[in-house]
């Protein structure tokens, strides 16, 4: 079983590798090994002729193992395994030695050492390969249904694309209506389309599509299973209203005496305790906010024994009196629904940092708002009917400061990254404001204007030329209140002048971050995320829509902040990825999984405790660990934690790893 005729194929990767590593010398050194039948180089091993070289060599030298020394295995492992398979070699007898990301790139300035290291990496890989077993992929069945999490424009688009292709799709949204952030916007850049006008048709399509099951006001409770076979528990939150009966007439909202800040308007307006999220909500149904409803709060206190129940006295219930449909029942109708799906698309979107996070910019004043809040003040469907008014006194602001990069590109106070959309939406907001208030003045304080999209730069120019928006290059240091105005202190970095300006309102383009609760959801899905909560893709360039968990895809701003154009394209892309998977009769799973040697296993359960996929159980009769192959992803956490060698990942056995370490650690 130990391989004796190994082929080693060293890639130049143009100059990416060969510019630093002396590939000829590497091939020469490796070629001296007794177990290597051929060691050769080629300019691009992943190209057609490069693959052909490997195929031909396998046949010519009757190779029983192949090492390709090139880039990261996440890029071309599959390419090379497929090439070997075409030549009749078991694909699991191919290993990748990463001499680009782990050698030539980081050691650009030390070509000699890099060459030595490349030799070492290849030698270590050969050591591993020699003990590789030939494997066959594992076949798993596939359920032809999909789940889309998040009902913003990304989720809507993905669900529609899936449903149109005949795949039954479940769309889950935690708010009472789908629509997400886009539906709350005033107008969209650069075309100034009204998002309500362009999104409502899609929302209605979702509601009426025979292949879409819509759960709004619902959250993901639990996810188990694996690619093609996920089991999902969905919690439908208590609405206290029978949605089968509710007609969405809105009479209840008129009589309800209890108020709360409207989430839909980002706190720029109030709503009632019983409410329909907006006039175009899909579904157009009422829910009761249990924390604000007078009756439900009373009932709760009775349950907790804090107050005594009153017999024959109705607590409020004004909404019940006006509900002709008799839909309001005040019963806690929370329910857990179980669904089985083959693929999951996560489209959970983004939010912006609250203004309060930036007190130095006056974020705690009522008239200093985030850009999303200002969207509502500019929206014709918003609380001010599209003419912005100050939250503090309802006056129309005559001068507004728009501040860019609040928290973005600022690792100390916010996030290190550029939030990408702020430049464009502030340009849009300034334009719309000038349109709505023709005698108003708009000042934008920016670091750079980033307007790199189709029609974006033209839109920026138009805001200056047609709408007279004034752009000042400089960061604002301070905003404070002077009378009923707000004084903005900044430095114009083009002229070096210190600027002090009194304005009526300030709009802060606060940094975009991932949507609240994403980390909890990601843990349930077992997918990785970065410190800001953005979901991690498998490969930023080549696999941006896939997560490391097979069968779970990302769409829209859950991955990173992006504009609507990109979001919609990605949503369709993620849907296409899911369709490609669900259209297969059976799915193939990598056989690189954990295996238990029951002779050695003492059943201590350390592996079970650390398994992130819940794939390990202790057989009660034999008192040894057993692996559920369908759930195992082959991550190796179990093996690392096993005090003996009882559980190991196939082709990553301890002797293989130790041999690799030996070679890598050797002093030459």
């Amino acid at each position: 079983m130990v391989m004796k005729r190994i082929g080693v194929f060293i890639c130049h990767c143009g100059r990416n590798i060969a510019g630093t590593v002396d590939v000829k010398k590497v091939a020469e050194e490796i070629g001296k090994r007794e177990d290597v039948a051929i060691a050769t180089t080629y300019v691009f091993m992943c190209s057609e002729p490069g693959q052909k070289l490997i195929e031909d060599s396998i046949k010519k030298y009757d190779l029983d193992g192949v090492v390709v020394a090139n880039c990261s295995p996440t890029l071309h492992e599959r390419t090379m395994r497929n090439a070997a398979a075409r030549a009749g070699l078991n694909p699991y007898r191919v290993e990748i030695a990463n001499i680009r990301e782990q050698c030539s790139w980081p050691h650009e300035n030390e070509p000699e050492k890099a060459t030595d290291k490349a030799i070492r990496i290849i030698n270590a890989t050969i050591e591993k390969l020699k003990a590789n077993a030939s494997l066959e992929p594992i076949e798993v069945p596939v359920i032809r249904r999909a789940l889309v999490i998040g009902g913003g424009v990304a989720g809507i688009q993905a669900a529609l694309d899936l449903a149109d292709s005949g795949i039954e799709t479940i769309l889950v949204e935690r708010e009472p209506s789908i629509g997400g952030n886009m539906f709350r916007l005033s107008e969209t850049f650069p075309t100034l389309d009204c998002p309500q006008c362009i999104l409502t048709p899609k929302m209605n399509d979702v509601a009426n599509h025979p292949n879409i099951k819509l759960y709004t006001y619902s959250e993901i409770e639990d996810v188990s299973g694996y690619m093609g076979n996920f089991k999902v528990k969905i919690k439908k939150k208590a609405t206290y209203v029978d949605w089968d009966k509710c007609t969405g007439c809105g009479e209840c909202m008129k009589v309800c005496p209890a108020y709360a800040l409207s989430e839909y308007d980002f706190g720029m307006a109030k709503r009632k305790a019983i409410y329909i999220q907006n006039e175009q909500a899909v579904p157009l149904k009422a829910v009761i906010d249990e924390n604000k409803c007078i009756k439900l709060q009373f009932d709760k206190k009775v349950r907790e024994g804090k107050i005594k129940p009153k017999k024959h006295v109705r607590i409020c219930e004004k909404c019940v009196d006006v509900c002709d449909a008799q839909a309001i029942h005040f019963k806690n109708n929370e329910e857990i629904i179980e669904e089985e799906v083959g693929a999951i698309i996560v489209a959970t979107g983004f939010e912006v940092m609250p203004a309060e996070k930036f007190p130095e910019l006056g974020g705690h004043y009522p008239d200093v708002v985030t850009a999303l809040q200002f969207e509502r003040l500019l929206a014709p469907s918003g609380p001010t009917n599209g003419i912005p008014r100050r939250p503090s006194d309802g006056k129309i602001p005559k001068r507004i400061a728009f501040i860019h990069c609040v928290g973005s590109r600022d690792p100390e106070h916010g996030v290190p990254y550029c939030s990408r959309i702020c430049c464009m939406y502030l340009i849009k907001q300034a334009t719309l404001y000038r349109h709505a208030v023709p005698d108003g003045e708009a000042y934008a304080f920016y670091i750079d204007i980033r307007s790199n999209g189709k029609g974006y730069e033209e839109f920026y120019e138009r805001s200056k030329e047609e709408y007279g928006v004034v752009y000042i290059r400089g960061k604002v240091g301070k905003v404070y209140k002077v009378g009923d105005k707000y004084r903005v202190q900044a430095v114009d970095t083009l002229t070096g002048r210190v600027i002090e300006m009194d304005v009526d309102m300030v709009v802060l383009a606060t940094a975009a971050v991932a949507s609240k609760g994403i980390k909890e959801l990601a843990k349930k899905l077992r997918i990785p995320y970065d410190e800001w909560g953005w979901l991690k893709e498998v490969h930023l360039k080549l696999r941006p829509l896939e997560t490391p968990v097979a069968g779970i895809f990302i769409a829209g701003t859950a991955q990173f902040i992006k504009d609507i154009t990109d979001t919609v394209s990605e949503a369709s892309g993620a849907a296409a990825k899911a369709m490609a998977m669900l259209s297969k009769p059976k799915l193939e799973k990598e056989p690189l999984l954990a295996k238990v040697d029951p002779e050695i296993c003492a059943g201590c359960g350390r592996c079970k405790e650390v398994c992130p996929y819940g794939a390990i159980d202790i057989d009660p009769r034999r008192h040894v660990a057993v692996v559920n192959e369908a759930l195992c992803e082959g991550c190796g956490a179990c093996s690392a934690n096993c005090p003996t060698t009882a559980i190991q990942v196939v082709n990553f056995k301890k002797p293989q790893i130790i041999n690799m370490v030996d070679v890598l650690a050797e002093v030459f």
Binding site: A602, R606, I618, R621, T645
Partner: protein, 354 residues
């Protein structure tokens, strides 16, 4: 006298049908073994408090219950260190605690099995000293520096108090123990063990300071220089529960000759076998956080290497680092615990040569 009292207790428990079996030490020609007894008539064969600990009693319970819980109501008489081992092994899924009642007692310490073979000593002698709050100079090193020489609340079920009272007392350590004593018709008594604990802890503090192995890698090599690589310490260790040790899977350390020669080239010669020190370091990593301090590794060493100095002190450091006390509560052992926030700083290592 104390053993008579315990034998009476066991007999009475049989009569009252509170137990169907008992596991406790029994004398052999040159030592003491553990005996499993299922009839009242055989109870006189037992010496519940024995002066020698040849094996760890929890290790015996592991053998009995690993595959299936105890089918009979079993009373086990264990030393305090063994009760902690019991609790630790339950966490590692090696003992099924169902149907087992544990009785533990104020421990006078035990003598080295080899020394006992050469020169017999009675448990009464050790107990008499204990009653005067003196640790016999004959007890093993690990007993001398024992952190918990008396029963702990929540570890085991019944305590048997000897110190500070004329007549020994029974007291409960768990709800199960409370119920058991009630059914036995025994009133719970009290006794003060603080002094006995204090003496041991003072010894321990001194020991931790003075007996630490110094001198870095060379210090360890010197310390282990006479090691025969027999792996007896591992076999005696109750926490080393693996069926087959990583170090006995020879495929892991099978190297081709070239490798040996290359190492010898690089290092101006190498010691053979190459996996001796590594074995001890591996064991420290695997069981250091769970070392309950029974000291059986040291007793098992045919070369009299004072291994408890290595395992006890490193174990002590590791346990502090992870804020984990093995066998005294229900905390999850660090090796079984996945924490997203990993250990950030590590300053546990003493300076080279201090």
């Amino acid at each position: 006298m104390y053993n008579d009292k315990l034998r009476d207790f066991i007999k009475s428990a049989f009569e009252k049908k509170l137990i169907e079996a008992v596991m406790a030490p029994a004398p052999t020609k040159d030592s003491y073994t553990y005996a499993l007894i299922t009839r009242k008539e055989d109870v006189d064969k037992l010496t519940p408090i024995a002066p020698v600990m040849q094996w760890n009693g929890a290790d015996m319970l592991r053998r009995i219950t690993r595959l299936k819980k105890s089918g009979r109501k079993l009373l086990a008489i264990l030393r305090p260190c063994e009760t902690r081992t019991f609790k630790e092994l339950v966490k590692f899924n090696q003992i099924n605690p169902d149907n087992i009642t544990i009785l533990s007692y104020d421990c006078p310490g035990t003598v080295h099995a080899r020394e006992f073979k050469n020169e017999k000593i009675s448990e009464e002698e050790l107990i008499e000293k204990m009653k005067k709050n003196e640790i016999s100079e004959k007890v093993r090193d690990s007993c001398n520096v024992c952190e918990y020489p008396t029963p702990i609340k929540g570890v085991g079920d019944i305590g048997f108090g000897i110190i500070g009272v004329e007549e020994p007392v029974f007291f409960s350590l768990s709800d199960n123990g409370k119920e058991f004593l009630k059914n036995m018709g025994i009133e719970e008594g009290e006794r003060d063990d603080t002094k006995w604990i204090e003496i041991h802890r003072n010894n321990r503090e001194k020991w931790l300071k003075e007996e630490r192995i110094k001198g870095g890698t060379k210090g360890i090599e010197d310390f282990l220089s006479s090691c025969l690589n027999c792996h007896n310490c591992k076999d005696a260790c109750p926490i080393c529960f693996c069926k087959e040790c990583f170090f006995e899977d020879h495929s892991v350390f099978d190297y081709e000759s070239d490798k040996y020669f290359r190492w010898a080239d690089e290092k101006s010669g190498i010691r053979l076998p190459t996996d001796k020190t590594l074995f001890h370091l591996g064991r420290l990593i695997h069981m250091g956080t769970s070392c309950i301090g029974c000291g059986l590794c040291q007793q098992a060493c045919p070369m009299d290497i004072p291994l408890y100095r290595l395992f006890g002190i490193v174990g002590n450091d590791l346990q502090k680092l992870f804020d984990y006390k093995p066998g005294v509560n229900d905390d999850i052992p660090p090796v079984m615990d996945f924490r997203e926030e990993e250990l950030q700083d590590f300053e546990g290592l003493p300076e080279e040569g201090d």
